[in-house]
């Protein structure tokens, strides 16, 4: 078992057509990496390989090292599950409980994570973090199933960041609806998670320092985000903010001027 995760390394396997995978990558806590490529290029397979801590025994033939070492089966199959938290595309709550009850139930199965901080304090911290990510405040007494899509996503991300001790977070696209996605990624990274995010969204892809490019089931390259791209990101975010502003105006029932979309 590993007391602490200092790195994970993805060693290449083979593409769908059997060619050797050229790229490999090592990630450390605080890293945010985007996984990009067309639909069917193997993004979900890559995330699945990491979740499974693959040892050349999945269709891709990849190997995942933890702290530079081969994980023992005990780590892979028992404790290993605790290594990874997954935020999937479908984010719904089905539990019949209030937000506070839910957080305390989750804390109960993550005992070591809450040592030193009281439960009430923990509940407050998760909720206040969630409320930084969404415009519609969540309260302790809100029934889980009554949360909106944005509130649910915000609560899930806050819970993963604050409560969960899984050092690796895999995200299969964060939807835009009602949450501040940049803040959401920031809070995960600040909590020293290794974050891998499959995305088609240009803003999310450029927010990552590196992006793994997939094609035909293989990692074909790992790109570092350049200074030019950072400048482009600023512009895209301005455009995004302008788009959100228009959405808000529409929500409020306002009429829009032809010049409403301004971001420069």
């Amino acid at each position: 078992m590993f007391a602490e995760i200092t790195s994970i390394t993805i060693l290449g396997g083979r593409s769908k057509s059997g060619e050797l995978e050229q790229a490999e990558i090592t990630l450390v806590p605080g890293d945010l990496v985007a996984v990009v490529g067309p639909t069917g290029s193997g993004k979900s397979r890559l995330l699945a390989d990491i979740e499974y801590i693959a040892q050349r025994d999945t269709p891709s033939g990849r190997q995942i090292l933890i702290n530079g070492e081969v994980a023992e089966p005990a780590v892979r199959f028992a404790w290993g599950r605790r290594l990874i938290a997954q935020l999937s595309q479908n984010m719904n709550f089905v539990m019949d409980a209030t937000v506070a009850e839910f957080i305390s139930m989750h804390a109960e199965c993550r005992e070591e994570a809450i040592s030193g901080s009281s439960e009430a304090d923990l509940i407050a911290r998760v909720i206040s973090q969630a409320n930084l990510l969404t415009g519609e405040p969540i309260t302790q007494d809100s029934p889980l199933t009554s949360l909106s899509g944005g509130q649910s996503r915000a609560l899930m991300i806050a819970d993963t960041a604050v409560l969960s001790d899984s050092p690796i977070v895999l995200i299969d696209e964060i939807e835009n609806a009602g949450i501040d996605r940049r803040q959401a990624l920031d809070v995960l990274v600040r909590n020293q998670k290794i974050v891998l995010m499959a995305t088609h969204d240009p803003i999310l892809a450029l927010l990552a320092e590196r992006r793994i490019v997939l094609k035909g089931g293989a990692m074909v390259k790992v790109l570092e985000s350049s200074a030019d791209e950072s400048a482009l990101l600023v512009e895209l975010q301005r455009a995004d903010a302008a788009m959100i502003a228009i959405r808000e105006q529409l929500r409020r029932g306002e009429s829009l001027a032809p010049t409403a979309f301004r971001y420069r």
Partner: protein
């Protein structure tokens, strides 16, 4: 031939999960057949057949389904041998949760889904408690935290089983489950082998077809509910 027993509540995703695992097993060169036990009706045999998997279907009809299972599994195993299978998987719904179709030495897999409710693990009997492997499905439609809470509650009921989160739609998790199946023990016939847990005590008049209600019509193994001698009257509401 290996015999693997898979059981879980209706619609927990047993067939979808098995179709994925069988794919994996066949890729590694293991020939697999399925016997599906159901109560009233089933179309799952078609799902197996359409993928070229040899399949038997057994419908218990008006018999206790697990009794039907235990009285027929040996003949099914014989069928599997005659088909030249490396592995026979028996799939059955969990039914009353009081019994389980698990057989000693045969790998026992319980399938439950994340949507079945947080209290479900505690409500399930031997079906969950006696399993070697618990497969939890439909994790993709609940939150990470709910998955963890649910898994924790499964763990409380069965401290020994390996727990696998599996997605029956994408097949995520099939590698680990497949390798557990592939490593399971070869059985040399079932005669004289034992179930892991006893069936409920039967037989009463209703087992034999009685339909009328009333003590005059009750015979055999009958258990009365405990009702306190005097129940205090509800307080008056003003």
């Amino acid at each position: 031939m290996k015999l693997v027993t898979v059981a879980g509540p209706p619609s927990s995703g047993k067939t979808s999960m098995l179709l994925r695992v069988i794919d994996w097993l066949r890729e590694t060169g293991i020939s697999v057949g399925v016997v599906k036990f159901d109560c009233v009706s089933s179309e799952d045999d078609e799902r197996y057949r359409s993928k070229g998997i040899p399949v038997l279907l057994g419908l218990a009809g008006n018999l206790c389904p697990d009794h039907y299972f235990v009285t027929n599994i040996e003949a099914c195993a014989q069928w599997g041998k005659e088909q030249g299978l490396d592995m026979l998987i028996s799939e059955s719904a969990g039914l009353c949760n009081r019994c389980s179709p698990f057989i000693r030495k045969a790998l026992a897999i319980c399938v439950i889904d994340n949507l079945s409710g947080m209290n479900t693990p505690a409500k399930m009997g031997p079906l969950l408690k006696q399993a070697d492997v618990v497969v939890i499905t439909k994790g993709d439609i609940v939150s990470q935290a709910e998955r963890e809470v649910f898994q924790h509650r499964v763990r409380k009921v069965n401290a020994r089983a390996e727990i696998i989160q599996m997605n029956g739609l994408t097949g995520q998790g099939k590698e680990r489950l497949g390798s557990l199946l592939a490593q399971s023990e070869d059985l040399d016939g079932l005669e004289g082998r034992k179930l892991r847990f006893s069936m409920p005590a039967a037989v009463c008049s209703y087992c034999l077809g009685e339909t009328k209600i009333g003590s005059d019509y009750q015979m055999g193994n009958v258990k009365s509910i405990a009702i306190p001698a005097s129940i205090p009257a509800a307080p008056e509401v003003n």
